[in-house]
Symmetry: C3
Subunit: 346 residues, 3 copies
């Protein structure tokens, strides 16, 4: 159960090359990704139309992919262009080609109706390659549905518990963030003043006293994408609305791409605008974030195991669930509409 | 398929403490067990009522358990007593609490209708903590249905084959035990006179000649519990009805608690009234018994694999199956009645 | 989905002895095989008729097998001949016995209707034990349906791709083999003249120039059995129709026996008539062949994973599929007829 008509993050641009075929499953469908000779990226169904052998066991020949079972060759659109021993290739001999767009250092794939794929719908987010910021890339594989992952994105109340020793503070559990429904999903502002800094901000911001702290989110329902402005500043400097001169700031991206019904790809990254030249700081920031995100994954994968184990009791909502419940309903609505359109088209 | 309204052995009392949450699955339901500050024991559903995260990843806070996903806190009855950021906790916010009774060194759990749970129904068996006897505790995990395990309890005919070199003698295959149906299940007397002692009784009884040997059982259908008086004495001293002065005697407890349809918890223990102070004898007796019980598990897990592999041929009964077939029918009857009551209540 | 009334290769004769019970699953049914005291071979259902314990955990007692759970004893036909503690054994107490025939160094099993099993239907193939030829035995286990395996037998078009560096040459992809439908299945002749030799024939035939090359097959639908005359000779000597004096020749046997719907036993072997006394040549030829067959297995197991992963697109045929598609239809037809007969008999 997922939205099909959306740009999903498929990987980092550096992962695809013209040297190999990268195999990855999205929305239950096996896909290969590679880079053609002109540098453009391509994504094809990882299943030869002939006998369903995986093209990922195949060979890149220039811009084309040859299945290394019986030698059928496919161009980057998925059209078969050679059947060994035959002179004609029927037009319907093809594998599915998926729109794949490289933008900054990210790859975005469209698994839905190709006619609806418009790369200009992909979000603009400067911090991926802004020179004033240093961006580091991360990936975790989840043994859990993407839905449990985005529940977690949309919820601050877990921070004091899951991230007690890393990025959480008690105030997160007490503070009700301001949420605003938007056309793309949800805008969330979680602002705290006079709050003790988390371990994370103590470490990277060097704060000794109380801080004003902010997490300002945009969550995009299509693509399960979270973009965040996160920071802390000494009390009295205006917080996120101040000049942020003594602030410690991060920009963050998180995205859940469904792999199967119960497994997911989690791509994330964070940008900072300080200490760009400090030796080891890239790794230090990255490790701290990964450590916190592994805390999330640990509880979420366990949650999936409990859910997969059965049981019929409903989930009982709490006030902090407002954002995630809204987005869950939004997803249900969009999926139902997509299903209606597919049914009508058949 | 199992009886729900029964006290099942859940573990050894020493396994639960106020330091950690012990996670174990019974009758297909995930459970945590712990000890409150006053020393009493508690068992809760291992699934938070909020988002179904496992409480076993949570934290003991005094007598209460806090879910470490979003911080909901539950008292030992399962009632939610805190939702972070909220002032009121609705009464229906709770996880299921299971009656858990500590008696001597055992924990007994009731997975059925709580109204019917009466701790006075738990069997009295003095040998768990009688000073004249030394009891040692054992546990094996089965990759097999508890039904295959209790088949084995109720059957002596496997002893010469499965336990050829340990606790079996040929006479077990030829002797038809006396069985008597009781209100709790089955009383079984397997008495042999002038029989060569098994390797087990040779080793611990020191017998050189023939013995009179007895295994006198009570099998309790609710709880899949077997209690046994087992011994051997030199021929001519009256066997189990004699004074047992030169006898070698054991008392034994075995219980199968369903974990899932095809896996089980096997708790067992044995008491002896000799050599209580002999160095290493505890371990020696225990190892011998465990060795024999691993022989059972080996064939039963293999039997489960064959059964799970499919095949439609019926099992063909032999005379030695009388006891186990009776108990299988009893279980079917009780399960059907429980199902009727649940259906009627819905 | 498989033909039941067929002789399938069950193993190599050297695998069964009177010392142990060999357990193997064929057509979804667990089987044990052993050798009786007179040297004859026997195959029984690996599931005691009493409580479904596996006989493979049992004990050979002369010609009979004793179940080591409760001691029931079965003769080589599967008839129960002893129930411990009972004097009579009902005639219907038996496990299924499967016709098992040892012929040369192979074991052939019949999993279908016993009345139809005629050992004279087993193929005659002299190269298994002809003194002028050296035969070496091979086995690979497939994580794939036997159907994908025989697709591969019946198809030369994969040779230049799967076996690019071993036994393939480009001509295989371009050459359309001559196929002839026969009563037993298919006769296939793949003849190439003036062709560069494959790595395999270069190595073992010592060819430096072009060769005339042949692969002449008989594929037997019942048993999924391929028998091949394969060779190469210097150009101008008449190829397979010449005297073959300077030829390098092999005879080959390949057979797929279904284990489960998605796993298979692959028995194969190859005979050569040269260098019978050359040290290490047995191993050298064998390793080369196994290397090539592991290439097949690698792509076929991957193909099975893709197919098992779902997807509803049909397989699109190419001209080279003529033989395999014919045999697939033949199998469908025979399976449907067997099913009709079973339904009629019920």
């Amino acid at each position: 159960m997922w939205i099909r008509n959306a740009w999903y993050i498929a990987g980092w641009a550096s992962e695809v090359s013209s040297d190999h075929l990268l195999a990855r499953t999205f929305l239950g469908e096996p896909v290969i990704m590679y880079r053609a000779e002109n540098g453009s990226v391509a994504a094809l169904e990882d299943r030869c139309c002939h006998r369903h052998a995986p093209l990922s066991k195949g060979r890149l020949e220039g811009d084309a992919v040859r299945c290394m079972y019986h030698g059928l060759k496919f161009d980057p659109s998925g059209q078969c262009i050679e059947i060994p021993g035959e002179t004609n290739v029927p037009a319907n001999y093809r594998v599915r080609g998926y729109p794949l767009t490289e933008k900054q250092n990210l790859l975005w794939i469209w698994m839905g109706d190709t006619d609806l794929a418009d790369p200009s719908d992909i979000v603009d987010w400067p911090y991926l390659d802004d020179e004033a910021w240093r961006f580091t890339e991360g990936y975790l594989h989840y043994q859990a549905s993407y839905l449990l992952g985005i529940d977690n994105f949309l919820d601050f109340s877990h921070l004091p518990y899951v991230h007690e020793h890393t990025i959480g503070t008690d105030a997160f559990a007490q503070n009700r963030p301001a949420t605003e429904r938007t056309d793309y999903g949800m805008h969330i502002r979680n602002i705290a003043t006079n709050d003790p800094p988390s371990a994370h901000f103590k470490k990277f911001g060097g704060f000794r006293g109380l801080v004003d702290r902010w997490n300002i989110y945009n969550f995009h329902t299509r693509g399960n994408l979270l973009l965040m402005d996160s920071g802390a500043a000494p009390v009295g400097e205006g917080g996120h609305e101040g000049e942020r001169k003594n602030a410690c700031e991060f920009r963050h991206l998180s995205a859940m791409t469904p792999e199967t019904e119960t497994t997911s790809h989690y791509h994330f990254g964070h940008a900072r605008n300080f200490g760009l030249d400090v030796d080891g700081l890239d790794q230090g920031v990255h490790d701290t974030i990964v450590n916190a995100f592994e805390e999330d994954r640990d509880i979420i994968d366990a949650q999936q195991r409990i859910i997969s184990g059965g049981g019929t009791a409903p989930m009982l909502p709490i006030a902090a669930d407002a954002a995630l419940l809204h987005i869950r309903r939004e997803i249900d609505n969009i999926v139902a509409k997509e299903q209606q359109l597919r049914t009508a088209a058949e």
